[in-house]
Amino acid sequence: MMLSIKDLAVGFRTRRGEVQAVRGISLELAKGETLGIVGESGSGKSVTSFALMRILDAGGSITAGEVTYSGIDLRRASERDMRTIRGREISMIFQNPRAALNPIRKVGHQIEDVLRQHARATRGDAREKAIQALRDVRINDPEARYHAYPFELSGGMCQRIVIALALACDPRLLIADEPTTGLDITTQKAVMDLSQELIRERGMASILITHDLGLAAQYCDRLAVMKDGEIVETGPAEAVFANPQHTYTCRLVEATPRPDASVRSLLPADRRPPELEYTPSDQPLLEVRDLRKTFAGKAGPVRAVKGISFTVNQGQSVGLVGESGCGKSTTSSMLVRLLDPTEGQILYQGNDLAQIPAEQFGKHPLRGDIQLVFQDATDSLNPRHNAGDCIAEPLRRLAGLRGKALRARVEELAELTGLPANLLSRFPHQLSGGQKARVGIARAIALDPKFLILDEPTAALDVSIQAVILNLLADLRARLGMSYLFVSHDLNVVRLLCDEVIVMQDGEIVEAGPAAQVMTAPAHPYTRALLSAAPRPPERVLETEPLAEVQSAL
């Protein structure tokens, strides 16, 4: 065995005493093998990798167990030996490639630094070797990119540089900690394919740490599923995915959006209430006509949205899909009237809202009709207001509710969104991600909006929480008859809620149509690229699956 971890336990000293982040896990990794460690936030998966690299934060320490790498005891190795091991024997790729690169040094020099640190290059040949390293990660024109600064490169490009850095000294084990989180789906595929290819080529072993079970199943030989600092299940990737043994693994597998799932089937089998009746009408609620937005950029005007037109009917859900920079966020800002369009019409029940400046829309009677659920619930809640105040804000300002009526309405909204009433007095930092998402949704629906824009409402959530929130949104739609514009980069998630899908690329709509049609028979090459880039986990055969399908069909 190349790496063996035995009963590893990691603790952190905090103000409330010692917290056990990892509680006695055992893992083995053979030469040339790819192991996936899968778990949700707080499961201890990253801490495990930090522990074996001995780069734990202050206050964290290995409290028990053994970590052996090729006969070296990593727990007892001196800091000096560890410095040699890091980068040369074991190297790591971190989640945010921009944060992992030094922003004020040319990327070529950063690669040279690593090479010379480990005596893999001399002053004379460092430059040549650095360029070769860039070439190895398939960077076009490596001689020119050698002189680039990280801010001049795209996210995917930066991650390639980070991979080049990690592989520069030919390590024998690569640990990738959420290497593609935050990258676009097509970039994710490119980065994952590249790193897999390089790992195979060099006969390295690797550990992929991710929250995405589908991604891990596609790229790993073996999976270890972690929950609350413990490994609940290990096994070959296909077996874990197709036939999960532990209930937690089952829940994770079910909660992972996939082409054949319905929104209810994401929930655990024993917690699936019947789906609510929901019928979109043919009456148009919102019509967008030739909407354009041009920003004044330093290098000439930037055309973010280049004339798009679409219609959202009453009670209908429309998905707006595209990768970062396609103009979908600009579009949603314009529709929610936080941003003035350069040209075009936004017809809401026949009134052209584009005529009303965004500055004045705050006092407009239609303000309550069009609301937004923000992408990052943490960022969208004022840290100084408690949950109840956050929900009450639109009611106070726009509906003029005060005192008892206000409290009653806030409690009603909390119940509607499944937020326990005793959490209303808590501040955002005292709430979990899912609870914050509920507060954000409760605030958005406080004024009974008819048109709700959902800006990647689940992007920052764990899959099991995502499943619950998506179901909540489906129920709310059926109960309150709202129309949704679901903005997302993930077609598999959009498909769960939407009747129609619009695909945007470079500020233009490249494809639009019924969700099923776009998903199964995409017409535009970009849509096909998006669909094929989604992680394709092995097919799973579960006896509960057909049953769920029947249920949703009824």
């Binding site: 409330r16 917290v19 707080g42 609350d228 929610v336 936080l338 500055e359 705050g362 006092k363 303000r367 309550g368 609301q371 937004l372 923000f374 992408q375 990052d376 960022d379 969208s380 809640l381 004022n382 840290p383 100084r384 408690n386 956050c390 804000e393 639109p394 300002r397 726009l398 005793n422 007095s425 808590r426 501040f427 930092h429 005292q430 954000g440 605030r443 958005a444």
Partner: protein
């Protein structure tokens, strides 16, 4: 992860409990708040409690060393140094608190406007602040007092003016990073005007770092006022004030009468020390994230 219970304490009417928690959590904060209470007590009640009139001279008792009847000794005119040091607290504290309050308010308004709207207003304000900061601040304060007239109010204005840029820049940065944040946009979607978003949603989030600045500034302001009176500006003798007392006492240090300068200097140092230590405690009190 497993802590589900202990959060409910901090909710309704929990400010007092939170205060107690902050004080208990950090002994340095407790010490600084204790000292602060002592100074405030001296300022409020000092003049009624001191054993001697701080202005009455008594040539027979001139330059007596510290003794049981004169704890801090007497100065060259036979005035009781202890009484003078305690009575001076009110003047020194009022000058610094008034100056800091003034610069806090003006700096916050200007900084918040610059940070939220940006553009030419931001550019102009920033250059003005740069200009103020380009002067040696003490010399600038001297100039202002000399130009406006040698009164206590002008000491307050001068101290306020030299401190405004610190607040304005801090608020500007704090507002600027939150201008496009989700909660500011959400507040606008809830029907708030730009002014309300700025005043009720964004600005309160800048308070924790501001509190650190306030307490540091209180210390500087005291030093500044004392420094100005040391060189003969602002407060005039025989009014008891720490800066003047140090200045007058300095003449007698060489002749061995150390107590005349030492005790007012010590009080000055203690006051500055107190305000510097209070910063973190004040921040913890206004920051809801500490209430866990």
């Amino acid at each position: 992860m497993t802590t589900a219970t202990p959060t409910s304490v901090s909710t309704q009417g929990g400010l007092w409990a939170h205060l107690v928690y902050v004080l208990r959590d950090n002994p340095v904060t407790l010490l600084s708040f204790g000292l602060f209470a002592f100074f405030v007590g001296s300022a409020l009640f000092g003049p009624y409690l001191v054993p001697y009139d701080p202005l009455t001279t008594n040539a027979a008792q001139a330059l007596q060393p510290p003794s049981f009847s004169h704890w801090f000794g007497t100065d060259n005119l036979g005035r009781d140094v202890f009484s003078r040091v305690i009575v001076a607290t009110r003047l020194d504290l009022s000058i610094s608190i008034a100056a800091v309050a003034l610069s806090f308010v003006i700096g916050s308004v200007l900084g918040a406007i610059a940070g939220y709207w940006g553009g030419w207003l931001d550019a102009v304000l920033n250059r003005v602040f740069d200009t103020i900061m380009a002067f040696p601040l003490f010399v600038l304060a001297m100039g202002i007092v000399a130009a406006l007239g040698n009164t206590i109010e002008n000491i307050v204005y001068a101290t306020a003016i030299i401190n405004i840029p610190f607040y304005a820049r801090l608020v500007r940065a704090e507002v600027n990073i939150r201008r496009e944040s989700g909660f500011a946009l959400a507040a606008r979607l809830s029907g708030n005007s730009h002014w309300r978003v700025l005043a009720f949603h964004i600005f309160p989030n800048a308070l924790p770092p501001m509190m650190v600045q306030v307490s540091l500034n209180l210390g500087w302001a005291i030093l500044n006022a004392a420094g100005l009176s040391f060189i003969g500006l602002g407060v005039r003798p025989p009014e008891p004030e720490w800066g003047i007392m140090v200045a007058q006492g300095a003449d007698f240090v060489v002749s061995g009468h150390w107590w005349v300068a030492l005790f007012p200097g010590l009080w000055l140092m203690l006051a500055v020390f107190t305000f510097n230590l209070m910063g973190d405690g004040l921040r913890d009190i206004v920051d809801p994230r500490r209430r866990t």
